[in-house]
Amino acid sequence: MAIRVLARITPPKPKAGDVFKLQVVAQHPMEPGTRKDEQGNLIPAHYIDQVDVYFEGQKVSAILPEPGVSANPLFGLEFQAGQAGTFNIKLKDNKGDTGEASVKLELA
């Protein structure tokens, strides 16, 4: 099943040379693997373990979350604005589900 992912840039149109935020939010339980259900059985870990960030097709950063990251995780990076282009974010979880989002960087 596809993981729902949202990405955005703040401020939406930075000036060249300015630092902007790239924020990615995924809808995911991020089950830590340490909790028990009502019958007392351990709920197995289920978490996003890789987030790759591409700009204009080139990988620019990677995040490797562990089960300790909160549910519906927010991943927040910062970049310096150079040229306009498109960010692609690809992520996957430990069960092999994947998700994707993209956001355009436009310059002021």
């Binding site: 790239l22 924020q23 830590p32 950063s61 990677a62 300790g68 927040g76 990076l77 910062e78 970049f79």
Partner: protein
Amino acid sequence: MDRRLFLKASVGVVAGALLVPKWIPAWAQGGLEGEDVAKLEPALQKVLGKGFKDLVPSDSVKLTMPTIAESGANVPFEIAVNLPKEQVKAIHLFVDKNPSPHVVKVETGQAMPAYASRTRMAETSAVRAVVETQDGKLLMASSSTRVTVGGCG
């Protein structure tokens, strides 16, 4: 009513009261609540191949955490590294007392050396931002966040 009574009555009402702190807050005493290096050590070894003694506390790393978590399920944190991005290889977050202390590794690459996210915290704990530099140093900033089961409103 005579004037003396008026003055007596008005003193408190008009003047107000100046509060001077008597307590010394924990954050001013330098103690790190919830520190558990013994629990942290194996995670450091596994992730970095190094131990706690190899981590260098550094003013170049800033870790911003709440003093007290509103909910252990969702504790926001921000890490900012005051170094050129070319010098930074990766940023990590560790929570000493979590069942599994390592929370995240960020290979910053072309990004600025900064990261903001939210972590689970099982209980009150020390928290570490660890920065791997390109020349192999491990820089650290520590903080502490209190987590409670809470009372009633």
